[in-house]
Amino acid sequence: MRTAPLRTDDVREVSRVGQIRDEMEPRIAQLMDLKLARRETGPYRVANSQELEVRLAAMLPAIGQDNARLTSFGRMPGGASKEQFFFAVDRGGGEEERLVLRVDPLEAIVETCRYREAEVLNALRGIVPLAQVRFVDGDGSKLGAPSMATTFVNGVTKPPSDGNLTISGVGTSFNAAWRERLLPQFLGNLTAIHKFDWRKADLPHFSAPLDFPGQAALWQVNWWTRVWREDAVAPYPMLTLAEQWLRRNLPECREPVLVHGDFRTGNFMFDAETGEMTAVLDWELAHIGDFHEDLAWILQRLFATPAETGELMACGLITREGLIKAYESATGSTVNRRTLAFYEILCAFKCAAMNLGTGSGIAARGNNHQDVLLSWMAPVGHVFCNEIARLISEEMAS
């Protein structure tokens, strides 16, 4: 039994000197162990839609859809992380329900857990707009690979007038009228997630960093530096430096919140006519942690686009200072600028690791359904390396 609480300074020192790398959320560590074992079984063959359709039709009774009949099935585009399919079921009344099936490929740009994703979607039902979970095959015992089906949500992820080809919402911009409609909902959903009382929720596959104040940050540093170490295809001194900087500068978090983990433009849908948000998407990186992490993600340079005036807008919606002030006003929390800088560097590190490391490695092993997309996206990691350099320079100068 621990006799005195750990001090963050001690943890920083141990992290720097001893390089404690095993201290991370247990389920995440387990997923990463499984990934290492699974990757050796590649290369991956893109899921055969017809085989999957047959398996899905056969499993409907096993997932509580006793009288349901599969009426349509097909592949959806996009999805650098999971293979995506649409399907519809008729439960006998002649009324179809449209659903979306997401299936894990052998390796994905992020290694995540379908149980966790379903748990958080169920927990937040009625709090923010969401797709509803219809079934989870978390260990892949029914469909052959971990998967989850949710209701199909109508809506768009970018304004109908924006004809630009964008990947994963990157580069999406909004004019003043769209910003006025979307920004209050964007901030409202973010603060609702952070105010959610996760302690009372049923989240059995989640753990909370409550042992010492630096644990939230240390778990994230250890998660993403492990991703980089295991997935890197070439050494990048800038990322090694960033890891060491992060270990030396772990911030404290005394009131962890539910963090979405990928809260940005491209990951919410809205009605193309009214602008009403219909769903917050992509919950696979959700975890219990520091609220600064979601703010830092929103502020990543790659997700920013200029307004009509040329001013850079985070996620195309709001200025940096505007976001900080609006968040403080809505939550009563104080945004600590140094903690925010730490998480901006960590988030840029994550993106660099995902793209230069995981995406390139998967494409090299041929272990995903979108190898060609992953190798196309990988160079974006250089944008994040440069952001890390800029941010660390600023922090070291301050």
């Binding site: 000197v17 001194p237 090694t240 430096l241 060609v372």
Partner: protein, 171 residues
């Protein structure tokens, strides 16, 4: 070498754009998306190919320069390992692009080990010095890398980078 890479890549792009793409079922967004990216990759390869060796040379030159600076500030044995690999690269007459890349990676690995070593030693002056060197190196690397991949359209500042032929020499 006849037909050369340029002819073969151009003819593949034409076939995919003018024959295969129109033949893809309009509702098959997955295939259309992957085909569009494939065409984009082939076009980028066609433009990069004449400069690939020069690009690898630049990468190696830059990492050698960083290695020399880091070795000067890192204490042995890691510093010695960096210097050894840097000297080895200097003496070697690697001729293929793959050999240049492998050398770059070998030196990069020992530099990364040295950075970790310096961080663990806890000498604040050394740490700040090495951090400054790595950040300066990143300034060179990012311009070269982002210019090289500007055509992916994923870089918000892609219009700011110089043409690749101004950064690296032709094969």
């Amino acid at each position: 070498m006849t037909p050369g890479f340029e002819i073969r890549l151009s003819s593949m792009i034409k076939a995919l754009e003018q024959v295969v793409l129109p033949a893809v079922e309009p509702g098959n967004g997955f295939a259309t998306e992957q085909l569009a990216i494939t065409i984009g990759q082939l076009e980028m390869l066609r433009l990069q190919w004449p400069y690939a060796h020069g690009y690898a040379e630049r990468c190696l030159d830059d990492i050698v320069a960083l290695g020399r600076s880091v070795a000067h500030h890192a204490s042995s044995p890691t510093g010695d390992a960096v210097m050894d690999s840097v000297l080895l690269a200097g003496e070697s007459d690697a001729s293929s692009t793959d050999e240049l890349i492998a050398q770059r990676d070998r030196i990069g690995n020992v530099i990364c080990a040295a950075i970790e070593d310096i961080a663990i030693q806890g000498d604040e002056h050394k740490w700040r010095t090495v951090a400054k060197l790595v950040i300066e190196h990143e300034g060179l690397a990012h311009e070269r890398n982002r210019a090289w991949f500007a055509r992916t359209g994923m870089d918000p500042q892609s219009s700011e980078w110089p043409p690749i032929q101004t950064l690296v020499r032709q094969n």
